[in-house]
Amino acid sequence: MSGNESGKIRYGMVIDLDKCTGCMTCAVACQQENNVPFREDETKKVRSITWLEVFYLDNGKPYPEHRKAYLPRPCLQCDADPHPPCTFVCPVNATQRDEETGLVAHIPVRCIGCRYCISACSYHARYFNWWDPKWPKAMEEMLTPDVSTRMRGVVEKCTFCVHRLQLAKDKAFVEGRQELEEGEYVPACVEACPAKAMYFGNLADSHSEVAKLAKSPEAFRLLEKLGTEPKVIYLSSQEWIHKLADNVV
């Protein structure tokens, strides 16, 4: 990690693409956990809100050399120093990185909907609410009470399920603890992955599983050359995926 290391906690994610089957369970879990709105007609993908999007990759070669993979992309929670690309552009301080945890948060009730952050993010990890959110009546009963719904005209994005961090902190406080154990705070996508392809933890803690995996020779980050210092690290044994993940001139 060469990015911002001012805090002793830098929550991050490792995703093993060799294990990912592209089943989309992570995306569904995310959608459900975070009350992400959807519409009856979602055919216009450039307006679909998908905090965690699963991209299809292939090596472009014909059979028998043809290879494919799936790449789940949550918000990459960029750790660039001094600012991630999206936060410092916001004119109203509606999005900030918490330097104690490294989490990049967004405050929808302060957002004016200028979409400058959307334009600044090269990973397309930010979404605008083009419509007022609506759920079928029965689903309204099943919304997550810890995540507020967003209104039309504001931006939203993956928060690494920051509400789960708050719940874990509350639990630790009740139990008289100051620090969280590894695995106490895990986003919904990581918890739901049936292939166990997603790992989550403190990248700044060299003993954590994610920190060890991040040092693997199979580890890489998306668009490394941009200098965004993402805290989502991918693993793959396939060279073509490494090459595809970063533009090579």
């Binding site: 450039v46 960029c78 690309p85 004016i112 909907g113 600044a120 083009w130 504001v154 668009l223 941009l226």
Partner: protein, 410 residues
């Protein structure tokens, strides 16, 4: 019917003809209001914008008219601060054009943001690191300066001028106009630059990102230079247009020629740095971000845009404006000014739309942006709004101080 309001010693068209003209203008403005109402009522889903194109026609139009509105501050700077007295012929019109551009841009901004009711948050929760904060503050302050600069002209209306308080207030404002001209220059320098900085600081967007000086990317300085190289061109164009429509000589040719000459030099100055910037961007900045220059262009946003911006709408008008014989020819002067203004619109379009069309993730794809009528209608209405203000100002205010002298009534 309205002859009591028309300045003394000048001739205007009949009130009936003027009303018919206003009717056409109000028709276009009405169309824009309907489009704007739809956007506010239904939300931005009625536009062509999406999560790829967070910015589109509204922002392109805003940036373009703010750049073209630079004629006001720059002509004011030349007239009052540098002391080019011959430009007093044209300064009133330059201020009116600037007023139209800046107030129009703010009206469109109201539609552009997803939560217009929260617009005031920009002042209440300002992020000092954001270029957009600087833009919002400077544009608001400069619009106030433009209102102050426009005010003496309004108070010079034949009837208003009869009120002694208005007369003296207007006279005193004239006396201290150099202060406002200097303030306007300072504010404009920063917000024109910040609009460029807006793009240049996007370090995760290789098309827009630029290295720079201290906290300012090179686009900061290029946007200032391009604004002062095109704003006066719009002022000249509007002057020629008003002269053409009214079939009158309203400004002495030497004032227009002087402004055209200055514009030519500024355009040439800008182009030198624009070409250097493009070369550095193509050979250094883009590769450092993992992209090649060729990847930045794909139909319909092809290399032709760069050629049109720099050669057709840059080098050609610069040559015309720098050649005394050519800039003294009315037709060539109009061609040069139109090309100059078009060049700035292309530049702002490229930074706004082409920048976002480019897929940065290698497995991503190009997108094309198509604005809808709800975006076109308010944008076209902006032009009609400009025509309305200029028409009213020309009819009822002494916009052109030399009009009486150049068009004596027997």
């Amino acid at each position: 019917m309205d002859s009591a309001l028309i300045p003394e010693g000048v001739k205007r068209c009949s009130f009936k003809a003027f009303c018919l003209w206003l009717l056409v203008i109000f028709g276009v403005i009405g169309f824009g209001i309907v489009g704007g109402f739809f956007v506010l009522w239904k939300g931005l889903n009625v536009t062509g914008l999406n999560d790829y194109f967070g910015f589109g026609l509204y922002i392109t139009a805003d940036l373009a008219i703010i750049a073209l509105g630079a004629g006001a501050f720059f002509t004011g700077f030349l007239t009052y601060v540098i002391g080019k007295k011959e430009l007093k012929d044209i300064i009133n019109l330059a201020v009116v054009v600037g007023f139209i551009c800046y107030t129009g841009a703010q009206l469109v901004l109201l539609l552009e943001i997803g939560q217009p009711i929260r617009g005031w948050f920009s002042f209440w929760h300002p992020n000092v690191h954001s270029m957009l904060t600087e833009v919002i503050f400077c544009i608001t302050c400069y619009t106030i300066v433009l209102v102050i600069e426009f005010l003496p002209l309004i108070l010079e209306n034949r009837q208003l001028d009869k009120v002694p308080e208005f007369h003296y207030f207007s006279h005193n404002l004239h006396e201290i106009m150099v202060v406002f001209a200097a303030t306007g220059t300072f504010l404009s320098f920063f917000h024109q630059g910040s609009l460029g900085g807006l793009y240049g600081v996007m370090f995760a967007r290789p098309f827009a990102f630029r290295t720079g000086f201290f906290i300012w990317p090179w686009t900061f300085f290029l946007f200032v230079a391009s604004a002062i190289a095109s704003g006066p061109a719009l002022t000249i164009l509007v002057t020629m247009m008003v002269q053409g429509i009214t079939r009158k000589k309203l400004v002495r040719r030497d004032a227009i020629s002087l402004l055209a000459k200055v514009t030519g030099f500024l355009l040439a100055f800008y182009l030198v740095f624009k070409i250097l910037d493009t070369w550095w961007w193509a050979t250094q900045t883009a590769p450092s971000k993992g992209m090649s220059f060729g990847e930045f262009f794909k139909a319909p946003y092809g290399m032709w845009l760069l050629f049109a911006e720099i050669v057709v709408c840059g080098i050609i008008p610069a040559i015309i404006l720098l050649t005394p014989k050519a800039r003294n020819d009315d037709v060539l002067l109009i061609v040069a000014c139109v090309l100059d203004c078009a060049g700035i619109v292309i530049n702002r379009f490229v930074f706004t739309v082409q920048n976002l069309a480019l897929p940065v993730m290698p497995f991503d794809h190009w997108e094309i942006y198509v604005p809808t009528w709800t975006e076109w209608a308010p944008t076209v209405a902006l032009i009609a709004y400009g025509a309305l203000i200029i028409s009213l100002a020309y009819r009822y205010l002494p916009v052109f101080p030399r009009e009486r002298e150049l068009n004596p009534i027997d």
